[in-house]
Amino acid sequence: MVDKLVEVFRSYGIKHVLGIPGGSIMTLYDALYNQDIEPVLFRHEQGAIHAAEGYARVARRPAVVAVTSGPGAANLVTGLADAYMDSVPLVAITGQVATTIFGRDGFQETDIPGIVTPITKFVYQVRKPAEATAAFKAAYEISMVGRPGPTVIDLPRDIQASPAPSHEERIVVNMEKFIPPPVDEDKVRIAVKYLAEARRPVILVGGGVLWSGATPEVLELSKMLYVPIVSTLPGKAAVPHDFPLYMGPAGMHGRAEADAALANADVILAVGTRFSDRTWGRFKELQEAVRSGRVKLIHIDVDKSEIGKNVKPTVGIVGDAKEALRKIINLLDAAAVSNQKFVAWLLEIRKKYEEAMSNVADSTSGFHPWRALKVLRRAAPRNTILTTGVGSHQMWTEIAWEVYEPGSYITSAGLGTMGFGVPAALGAKLAARDRPVLCIDGDGSFQMTMNNLALVREYDLPIVVVIFDNRALQLVKQWQIYMYQRRIIATEFSKMPDFLKIAEAYNIDAVKPENYAQLESAVARALRNNEPLIVDLTIDSESDIVLPWVKPGDWLTSAILPEGMEVKLTYEED
């Protein structure tokens, strides 16, 4: 029946299957022999699934992963959890031992449906040949409909090898529930009223805005009412940063002006966001303000389970973000709000932060991450796709990397998966070979999945990787410095490995720049010429402290700011 499955792949326009074959998935791989669907062979299954995440976010449709049973399937777990947290559509096909030996602890037998149940939108173990194609179709469609997410099809070996069935058995699921309901007009009217009456309204953009394609509506609404936009970390990818009213991402390592905007708003229009503790620090202040009526919270989300999950809104609107925002725009009086003083105050905070960071970077011997990102942004074309690992370098990109095209910033936000950057970059490049792809990684994160660099030459995927090399698990070390009385334990690496030699081993050019000019020219040349490059950027761990920082459990106005930045994040109205 695997030939039938490949036909279904083709009918969905699937061009690549990412993974690693093994005993229990060989029949499916064999069916791809000499077909127009390319298997892409990773060096570890975790690499394949993070690449699928990068691929799906760029292609805006589900990517397909196929791996063998047991360890192959178990190695997908982190990526599935990551995709589930960040709402990324993909379908993983896991091989399984033959149905005849189920439960007998056969070689490489693992109960994958049991393992991935809490971290998938849908999982189905195929028990009969006639279910296989229908199960894949259901998994593919479910992964994309409504709020996206990862799905898994567990496909036993004997099912794969069975003759093609004459019929297709129906998989009983309720898919209609994922289709966004029509937006409640009465609630929209209330939201419009609150927005029209607001003195300090703020739009909070989450990752759902990107999947909904609602960026134009967000910008239009912001312009109409002169409302500042703040984002979550995933929502950063949804807003062009040169839009003058975008204040950046808020939260633990968000921008100070964004934290200030959220903390001082009297009406918050939150769109496509799940109210993560990383964005808010803690919910107490917001919950109390909403409960007392001091803040009107309007929450739009396609997933009704998110409405009121962490903070009960004043108005909860279930529906597609684009449609809901369009209805709000249509009902709004354009002249309703224009609080230029509030926005000017926020922009002044931005200015002070930039000045303070510039001074910090000036006084740092060697490279400072904040300035390195400014230089890299200049070196990279506007349509460059950026991926990151997880750690201090990622937080610096949250603060300082400017996104110009929606969808061009790909990071592991919810799960915070180290090792995400390189494979996600490979997947992004596979999905868009005509676009420059840059990965900002940390030395710790890079070492977790660097084995997948083998694909750069094998599949001609010329990505540029800049390693912010501070020889530490820097973000954890930062916590040790501030929260554990500088008791530094298990966060510092030795000087091994030599990343230039790692690059050489994979036949990739590498540089270790000595100044910003060398960094800029090397990266600009590689991106312009579509050539792979690894940059080992030496950063002094002691001066790599990511600020602003809202400590875990603190409120947004408690952000620790860089030296020389003397501002209060509490707004005082005249």
């Binding site: 449906p113 049991g114 149940t117 809490p118 939108k121 849908f122 999982v123 189905y124 173990q125 259901a138 479910i142 009983v172 699921v173 309720n174 898919m175 529930k177 994922f178 997933d303 009704k304 389970s305 009121g308 999950k309 009960k312």
Partner: protein
């Protein structure tokens, strides 16, 4: 106390998914019964806990594609 009634396909995998969600809810599962009917399972739960937490559970259960139908109400209505 609230009752939650669920219909799923007659599949232990589907049932396992329902239980996986329920075990994360901040409610007390007072009672649970599963009955079988043709190609379906009917899951009947009695739960006790704050209203918001019961709602959390219901809405998370309703996210499962295998949950074909779900309804919730006072315990004396339909259990």
């Amino acid at each position: 106390m609230r009752r939650i009634s669920i219909v799923t396909p007659k599949s232990l995998d589907a049932l396992g998914r329902v239980i996986a969600v329920t075990r994360r809810a901040k409610v007390q599962l007072v009672d649970m019964a599963v009955t079988s009917e043709d190609s379906l399972y009917r899951v009947h739960m009695k739960v006790e806990g704050p209203h918001d937490e019961v709602q959390w559970l219901v809405s998370k259960l309703d996210k499962l594609p295998e949950v074909l139908k779900i309804d919730e109400g006072n315990i004396d209505i339909n259990y």
